[in-house]
């Protein structure tokens, strides 16, 4: 039994748990205590002195944020002496504070202003001391620092250092001259700042303020809670709106982001109200788009579908659903395809990112998703990051990794580039692109030979160990180091550190999955975790980080050619019968075509004639763009439904304007399998409609009436058909969402997977040989191209590209290249060059860096006609994921 301490606050008895402060107890019981510097997320510094209380066992006032109550003590939070002390703190703070509330940006959103009002402090200054007078630092593009309005609470510094793990801010000078600044007070240039804006979110006054594009007063605004539309972390925030314009984003201190955001979540929201948003349907006539009414557009689509169905049959249709749309929309879309078109030709960009995870983990463990929760990241004792640039692609999870390191966890990073996390890691192993399997086999060889493996776990919970270990024995670290281009010691040390972990977590992303044998890379990861028994426990497991806000959900609800919602196989008769009964139609049991094999690369056999695309941009995201363009040109009819006229929409015959996430209700499923709400904050822009409304209206026109009044009703249908979502409804997920599997309406959801038993029963060890990439450098194309993302942009820039200041940070396509390789090609920094591969060519700025190996270049895939003009479309045989991570290329100087 936990020991409780009984004590009194303002005459009423309360209990405190061990280590709970008086402030903690007050907060829990809604007793008001003013604070400036306190934040639940980091240790109290008792700097601001606002939280003073009177105690019966001391004659001086104590700061309640650090006061641990003793048995029987009596606390006064509201006595005259306490009030007087707080008033004094406020008077002193106010004395040096500029009196400009009437024009201050923080008016109405300022704790100093509020407390001055509550504690009846007159605006006339009682103490005659110098008012703070510092220069404003506006070197950051998204916010400015006005040290004159700073009350030196230090929250911004603590958030940046302790929570985000960046440490870009610090106090400078001392005494009354103290001010907060970036390093050396030289602005952003010498700073490690990543513009996440978490300092701005916690500032209690107007010292750190977003550079606003709209004039607004707090009293004119309203807030709507929703889920971030960028990466798979699924951060919770409030959209702050003036009228129908989003003017700010405020993080919420809750699951999963604990009040943190990254630059995209915090500042990249202006695309919502962007003037280029599609506002009415467009119909292409003689190569030119004309605005049309919904009726005209629907009539055209319905006619074309009927014609195509008659002429070519069901197999000529294909649909791309969207990892950006809600679960309800994806569900309805796959229903639309399977019922109206009679085809299972449904896919989306999950094919490009984690198709190999789904197949690799489903075969070895039984389900292809993150086994741990985001809240477990901080409690690992070892974190092994391989093929993920976590701090840029999943910044908030990256911050939690840094927090884990601060509390003693060891971090191992294996990557072709010395990414930010690698610089802070305990061990960095720099490997050549595409050599993961060799590294993992080498590590497992060491773990086996040094007897560091978990025999009991292997005996009780796994199968096929003997076949697997035979192959591992052929991979001594010396052999692997040669393949990976790293040191033997690196492999040995990585093995020892990982194996020593009691609560070790593996984090991976596209660096593991996007290979022509990506499924093997994933299975190799599963081997490593099972060998050491590091799976099926809290803070111990395998964690594929999903890239888009709802890529997990789009897969979960059946946006794939081989499965119905809940990963129920389309070719199984009992599954087919179940859905035929539920939907009242005949369905196809033929597995559909996947994204690349026939749809966006169908140029060769022209089997797809009619393509329906909802919120996808294959003309930028798919490999070998030249071929994708040819495939789209060969289609008879293309419908694109999107929020902007994207590069892909240009190829459409009809474009339907969709509403953004801020204009509709629904759910996203984040990377930790958590189904979370998004909420309508403004009316659809122009004549746009939410995707689910468009699909529902078309289904009704095409003879299968759908009359959902609200997305919650669609979720009820999903729950009735998909066992992993069975217990989900909007009431239950209103506050913090639920993590699937949720077996029934009373099930609490699943924090981590494979506890006691793997989803498939026994974990399957797989012998994996190192195969290497399909296209290796040769005389003609002597360099290796690898691709990835940057912090500032998202996917194909459809959204971040509309945010001017984000674009200013990374305006052009670029390559990263090291000095030795750059010298060989006589390249200067920032020079524009042509990069060629067997597929095509593109131009890029040269960024010379020391983070990448010889003869390797890195290019982000965000830019149209950029990296994917070069990438290789060779597919993994099991899951059709393309080898986006390795291609041979050559640099040609522009002269």
């Amino acid at each position: 039994m936990e020991k409780l301490i009984k004590f009194k606050i303002d005459g009423v008895e309360y209990n405190a748990k061990e280590n709970e402060t008086v402030l903690d107890v007050c907060k829990k019981n809604d007793i008001f205590i003013p604070t400036f510097c306190h934040d639940d997320r980091f240790a109290s510094e008792a700097a601001c002195r606002m939280c003073l209380v009177e105690t019966s066992n001391s004659n001086k006032l104590m700061t309640s944020c650090t006061l641990i109550p003793t048995e029987g003590v009596e606390i006064q939070t509201n006595s005259d002496i306490v009030l007087e002390a707080r008033q004094e703190v406020l008077k002193l703070t106010w004395a040096s504070h500029p009196n400009d509330c009437v024009v201050c940006e923080a008016d109405g959103n300022c704790k100093l202003q509020d407390y001055m009002y509550y504690y009846d402090i007159p605006s006339e200054k009682e103490y005659n001391i110098e008012v703070r007078d510092f220069e404003i630092d506006d070197s950051n593009k998204f916010f400015y620092i006005d040290p004159s309005k700073c009350i030196l609470c230090g929250k911004c510094i603590n958030v940046c250092d302790q929570l985000v793990g960046v440490g870009a801010l610090s106090f400078n000078e001392r005494g009354k001259d103290t001010y907060v600044s970036f390093a050396f007070n030289k602005g952003m240039d010498f700073s490690t700042c990543v513009s996440c804006g978490n300092c701005v979110s916690v500032c209690p006054t107007g010292a750190l303020v977003e550079k606003s594009h709209t004039k607004f007063r707090t009293k004119e605004t309203r807030k709507v809670r929703t889920t971030c539309p960028y990466c798979g972390v699924g951060c919770q925030f409030n959209l702050v709106l003036k009228g129908d314009t989003v003017v700010r984003v405020d993080p919420i201190n809750t699951t999963p982001n604990e009040g943190l955001l990254c630059i995209k979540g915090k500042f990249a929201y202006r695309y919502i109200n962007h003037p280029n948003r599609l506002k009415s349907p467009l119909i292409k006539k003689n190569g030119v788009f004309y605005e049309a009414t919904w009726e005209e557009a629907y009539t055209l689509i319905v006619n074309k579908i009927s014609q195509a169905k008659k002429t070519y049959g069901s197999s000529a249709f294909a649909g791309l659903t969207s990892a950006k749309c809600t679960n309800e929309e994806n569900y309805l879309f796959q229903k639309f395809m399977r019922i109206i078109f009679g085809t299972n030709n449904i896919d989306h960009c999950a094919r490009l990112c984690h198709a190999s995870t789904v197949t690799g983990l489903a075969t070895t463990l039984g389900s292809g998703a993150m086994t741990n929760s985001i809240s477990e990241v901080k409690n690992h004792d070892v974190i092994f990051v391989i093929g993920s640039n976590t701090t840029e692609t999943h910044p908030v999870i990256g911050s939690f990794m840094r927090q884990a390191k601060k509390s003693g966890a060891k971090i191992i990073v294996a990557e072709p580039r010395k990414i930010d996390l690698a610089k802070e890691a305990d061990l960095f192993v720099q490997i050549k692109p595409g050599t993961n399997v060799a590294l993992l086999n080498g590590m497992m060889n060491v773990i086996y030979n040094e007897n560091l493996y978990d025999k009991e776990f292997i005996r009780k919970r796994t199968e096929n160990f003997d076949d697997f270990i035979k192959v591992v024995k052929q991979y001594p670290p010396e052999r692997c180091a040669k393949i990976c281009g790293c040191s033997v010691d690196g492999i040995i040390e990585a093995a020892r550190i990982y194996a020593a972990g009691e609560k070790a977590g593996i984090y991976y992303a596209m660096g593991i999955t996007q290979h022509s044998n990506g499924t093997n890379h994933v299975k190799s990861i599963a081997n490593l975790a099972m060998l050491t028994g590091n799976i099926g426990k809290e803070s111990s497991g395998i964690n594929p980080l999903r890239g888009q806000n709802n890529v997990q959900g789009a897969c979960d609800v059946g946006g794939l050619p081989d499965v119905y919602p809940g990963y129920q196989k389309v070719h199984l008769p009992e599954v087919k019968a179940k859905f035929e009964k539920a939907w009242g139609v005949k369905l196809s049991d033929e597995i559909g075509h996947s994204l690349l094999s026939h749809i966006t690369h169908g140029a060769k056999d022209h089997s797809i004639k009619f393509l329906y695309i909802m919120g996808e941009n294959p003309i930028v995201s798919d490999p070998d763009i030249t071929n994708v363009k040819e495939a789209l040109n060969n289609m008879n009819f293309i419908v694109v439904q999107d929020i902007f006229l994207t590069e892909t929409a240009q190829y459409a015959d009809v474009v339907l304007p969709a509403s953004s996430y801020a204009e509709k209700d629904g759910t996203f499923t984040n990377t930790e399998r958590r189904v979370q709400r998004i909420r309508k904050a403004l009316d659809p822009i122009g004549d746009s409609k939410p995707d689910w409304v468009i699909i529902q209206e078309l289904m009704t026109l095409l003879g299968y009436p759908q009359h959902f009044n609200h997305p919650s009703e669609i979720m009820d249908e999903i729950a009735s058909l998909s066992p992993i979502y069975a217990g989900i409804n909007y009431d239950r997920i209103d506050k913090i969402g639920l993590q699937w599997p949720v077996h029934n309406k009373n099930h609490p959801g699943t924090k981590y997977l494979h506890k006691d038993k793997f989803s498939r029963g026994l974990g399957l060890f797989t012998p994996i040989e190192y195969l290497g990439a399909k296209e290796l450098p040769d005389d003609e194309y002597p360099l290796t191209l690898t691709t990835g993302r940057v912090l500032y942009h998202f996917h194909t820039r459809t959204m971040t590209g509309k945010c001017t200041r984000i674009n200013e940070l990374v305006p052009n396509n670029f390559i990263e290249i090291n000095q030795i390789t750059a010298k060989k090609y006589k390249l200067d920094d920032m020079e524009e060059v042509i990069i060629k591969s067997r597929r095509g060519e593109t131009t890029a700025e040269v960024h010379i860096t020391d983070i990448i190996g010889d003869n390797i270049i890195f290019m982000p895939f965000h830019f149209a006609d950029g990296a994917n003009m070069l990438t290789n479309v060779v597919l993994d045989e099991t899951c059709d994921i393309p080898e986006l991570k390795v291609a041979a290329c050559e640099i040609v100087k522009k002269s």
């Binding site: 610090s170 001392r174 600044s181 050396f184 700073s191 610089k423």
Partner: protein, 158 residues
């Protein structure tokens, strides 16, 4: 003190390594930098940041907090006028004012020719023979305006 000594990151890296494993290595390393360069150059602060895995903002915060560390280059000669209580009563404030006027800089600043910096000095425990001044760390006692002018004149001629 080595005026305008070239910054050698490799050499200073070795110095950092010497202190790396002691408890609280930052202050002693900053002292080494101050002694070597007369101030703590940004390049050196960044190097310390990388090697100790402490953010450069925090290092700059520490360096700017203590008056014995300088974050800007200082002059060839560092003159400090003690403004402790006893020296103050013995007229050191007048000496400081005089020095500021004759060098045309304020306390903490460096002359444009890079020759002199007036550094802030509090009590140095030599009160019985005050007012005291320090020249590159050496104490000169029983100071007056005439003697001060002579010291500056001699240093300028060197």
């Amino acid at each position: 003190m080595n005026h305008l000594k070239e910054i050698d990151l490799k050499q200073f890296g070795i110095i950092i390594d010497r202190f790396k494993d002691i408890k609280g290595p930052l202050i002693p390393i900053l002292h080494e930098a101050e002694n070597l360069y007369g101030y703590i150059p940004i390049e050196i602060q960044n190097l310390i940041s990388q090697k100790l895995k402490i953010s450069n903002a925090e290092i700059n915060g520490v360096a700017s907090f203590y008056t014995m560390f300088h974050t800007e280059p200082t002059g060839k000669y560092q003159i400090g006028i003690c403004t402790g209580t006893t020296c103050h009563l013995n007229g050191s404030s007048k000496l400081l004012k005089h020095l500021e006027q004759s060098l045309d800089i304020k306390e903490g600043e460096t002359t444009s020719d890079g020759q002199f910096t007036i550094i802030p000095v509090k009590c140095i425990g030599n009160c019985d023979v005050g007012p005291n001044i320090t020249v590159d760390g050496r104490v000169h006692n029983n100071m007056n305006i005439k003697k001060l002018d002579k010291i500056i004149e001699d240093l300028s001629k060197r």
